[in-house]
């Protein structure tokens, strides 16, 4: 019970921690006070509890594939929010944004963190709820939860300070790259969920690296959390992964174009930060 609680909690915590760290770095670069993260975490916890308590019923939807569809939906919404977020980030790194745009920017951050927590937290809540019914498992599970969460949060903290420690020009670039990876990862997972639900057709396997780097190993879990590593991804997943990353790149370009366009319209100097 110990080891699987470590793996389970670690995986879910790390994914959320990476997102939070990167978004906190962006907030900091833009001088946004970190109060939003409290709202995001609170909303995420509430969402996770609701999701966990209704998981059994949600699973029965759409002919017993409701869980996959909901997960895919959440993942796609996260990608959408990240896309809008990056466009605005790209815009505000060049020109001053309006109050309205700043509000959308913060809303996107809150939405991304709380949605990611809803999906990942619900799994943890279900697991802990299951364990609490069996007294003999409580101690190893709680110990494992502590270790898994400790490793995940530590990785997030070091990532946060690592990004902040980068030269100011590189921090946003690295942050955006990480978000692009997360977006690709979520896109690939969403496709996997929909394939599992048989809403999308099966496609051939792209490669099989399960012999060299099994998904179940520690390195496999780490690579999964950062890059969405899978030993046997399907072709559709690969396409989705690239598309998810391209979305982020494209939206950064959209933000850049909007900034250039805006600068041309406005007298120089007034808009420049």
């Amino acid at each position: 019970m110990f080891l699987n609680s470590v793996i389970l909690i670690f995986q879910e915590t790390l994914e959320a921690a990476i997102l939070m760290s990167v978004l906190l770095v962006f907030a900091r670069i833009n001088g946004i006070r970190p109060t939003w993260i409290i709202f995001a975490i609170a909303a995420g916890l509430v969402g996770a509890l609701i999701f966990a308590f209704n998981m059994a019923d949600i699973s029965d939807w759409f002919d017993y594939v409701g869980q996959e569809v909901m997960n895919a939906l959440i993942q796609l919404i996260i990608i959408l929010c990240l896309t809008v977020f990056i466009a605005l980030q790209s815009l505000r790194s060049r020109v001053t944004v309006s109050r309205h745009q700043n509000l959308i920017y913060i809303t996107c951050m809150v939405a991304v963190v709380s949605l990611a927590m809803t999906r990942e937290g619900s799994e943890i809540f279900i697991y802990i709820g299951m364990v609490l019914q069996q007294p003999e498992y409580i101690r190893p599970t709680l110990t494992g939860t502590g270790i898994g969460a400790g490793i995940g949060i530590s990785c997030g903290t070091l990532l946060y300070y690592g990004l902040l420690g980068l030269p100011p020009r590189w921090a946003p670039v690295c942050g955006a790259t990480l978000l692009a990876l997360v977006s690709g990862n979520f896109a690939s997972q969403a496709i996997l969920n929909l394939t599992q639900a048989d809403w999308l057709p099966y496609t051939k396997i792209l490669w099989d690296s399960s012999v060299w780097l099994p998904e179940g190993s520690l390195q496999g879990h780490l690579l999964f959390a950062f890059f969405g590593y899978e030993a046997t991804p399907s072709i559709l997943q690969g396409i989705a992964y690239i598309a998810g990353m391209l979305f982020i790149g494209l939206s950064a370009y959209v933000g850049y174009r909007a900034a250039v366009h805006g600068k041309k319209l406005q007298p120089r100097g007034e808009l420049v930060k």
């Binding site: 110990f2 900091r28 190893p140 110990t143 270790i147 400790g150 490793i151 530590s154 300070y161 420690g165």
Partner: protein
């Protein structure tokens, strides 16, 4: 980069947690493997024991436990078995370790063939029991590491806070240093890294202090030295007055120029007349209301000349202060109001006390002060709206600097707020009541 303390604590704790926990996981895994090996050894010993025992003694000699099962096969016939073993084969009869599911549990199985007697011995042990047992032992070793992290966090917090104390002390002292406090910064128990910083700061402060002192003395001396020639000029002016015609414009300009020079010199002198230390010694109980009455009476003519109404309201309020400089303060505020308020304007002086504070307000319905200018008005030689009208020409731009100086000497505060009239501003000075 935010707080150094938070950065140090967070990154140190994260690094320690990461390495500690990963090491713990490694330890857990190797301990578990070792335990598995031990259990497997135990199972193979049991198999050998069964092989050596006579079949008939088996039931009585082997204690029956629910998490152990065995079967003894001879030519595909079940010769003996434990009560909890299934009717059929537990697992395929291939020598070696394997797993099997029966009785609603998962079992670790060992098949052993005894060639001399042609017996197949199958022993099985419940994996969940083995696992729970092994894990229980290991978890006991792991739990303190997890529980220790908050303790480590607390210790790291305390150590880093202690280590950064001189730095915090320094920043606290610098933050709470009064603008005119030019004494050296003192940090007890100075660390090597900070010594140079404190030394440089104190050096700067000392040099700044002496520069300010020189400036003050120069101004005061110059003003003082200028007084005599100006007095002489005035006498000469008085003498010439009889010789020139009454409506000579040059003479009028000369006269007003000399008066302005005299005013400037007097203002400069009153600005530097006192230092804070000698000042506090002369404090006495002052009735601000009475003082205001006197100043208003003195200044009445100037307001009359511009047809402005000047009113005083309130009642007696007492503060600790120096009546002379307080008089200068109010004079300057009033002449300021007089100059900036147009012809026929209203000026209202009020004195009130509430909750241990005494408020002296001078309000007018003049043009007011733009928010952006509020900080600037107290600067020396700063003038607003340079060409407002001729009366203004008499100002020298030191009045509000003197006001600010006197309020600071009295440890009072001054604010510029909108006045109660439609336009104009209110200078509100807040003293401590006695």
């Amino acid at each position: 980069m935010g707080s150094i303390r938070v950065f140090l604590i967070a990154t140190m704790l994260a690094t320690m947690t990461l390495f500690n926990f990963v090491a713990t996981l490694q330890g857990y895994q190797s301990s578990l493997e070792e335990a598995e090996r031990l259990f497997d050894n135990h199972l193979s010993q049991m198999v050998k024991l069964i092989a050596n025992l006579h079949v008939e003694h088996m039931a009585s000699n082997l204690n029956q436990s629910s998490d152990l099962a065995y079967q003894l096969w001879h030519k595909d016939q079940l010769v003996a078995s434990s009560a909890n073993s299934p009717k059929g084969f537990i697992t395929e009869l291939t020598a070696g370790f394997d797993y099997a599911n029966f009785n609603g549990y998962r079992w670790r199985t060992l098949v052993h063939y005894a060639p001399d007697s042609d017996y197949w011995i199958v022993a099985a042990e419940r994996t969940d029991q083995r696992f729970v047992l092994a894990e229980k032992v290991i978890i006991k070793a792991v739990t303190p590491i997890v529980l220790g992290i908050p303790l480590v966090g607390l210790l790291v917090w305390l150590i880093i806070s202690r280590g950064l104390k001189p730095l915090r002390n320094l920043s606290f002292q610098l933050k709470h240093k009064q603008i005119d406090d030019l004494t050296a910064v003192k940090i007890p128990d100075l660390k090597d890294e900070l010594e140079q910083v404190v030394q440089s700061i104190n050096d700067l402060v000392r040099r700044l202090g002496s520069a300010l002192e020189r400036e003050k003395r120069f101004t005061a001396d110059a003003a003082h030295e200028l007084r005599t020639p100006i007095s002489a000029l005035k006498v000469q002016l008085h003498n010439i007055a009889e010789e020139v015609s009454a409506d000579s414009q040059s003479f009028a300009q000369l006269k007003s120029g000399i008066e302005r020079m005299q005013h400037l010199v007097e203002q400069l002198l009153s600005l530097y007349r006192f230092t804070p230390e000698e000042f506090a010694n002369q404090f006495e109980r002052v009735d601000i209301y009475l003082l205001a009455q006197n100043v208003l009476a003195e200044q009445h003519d100037a307001f009359e000349a511009r047809q402005q109404s000047l009113e005083l309201e309130g009642s007696s309020c007492y503060i600790e202060g120096d009546p002379f400089s307080l008089g200068a303060l109010l004079q300057n505020l009033l002449s300021n109001a007089n100059k900036y308020t147009p012809f026929g304007g209203e000026i209202l002086v009020s004195v009130e006390c509430s909750e241990g504070k005494v408020y002296l307000k001078v309000e007018d319905n003049g043009p007011g002060i733009k928010p952006a200018d509020i900080d600037k008005v107290f600067e020396r030689f700063h003038r607003l709206q340079k060409n407002l009208d001729q009366v203004f020409a008499q100002g020298c731009g030191l009045g509000l600097t003197i006001v600010k100086h006197v309020t600071e000497l009295h440890r009072a505060s001054i604010d510029i707020l909108p006045s109660r009239f439609d336009s104009g501003c209110a200078f509100v000075i807040q003293f401590n009541e006695v």
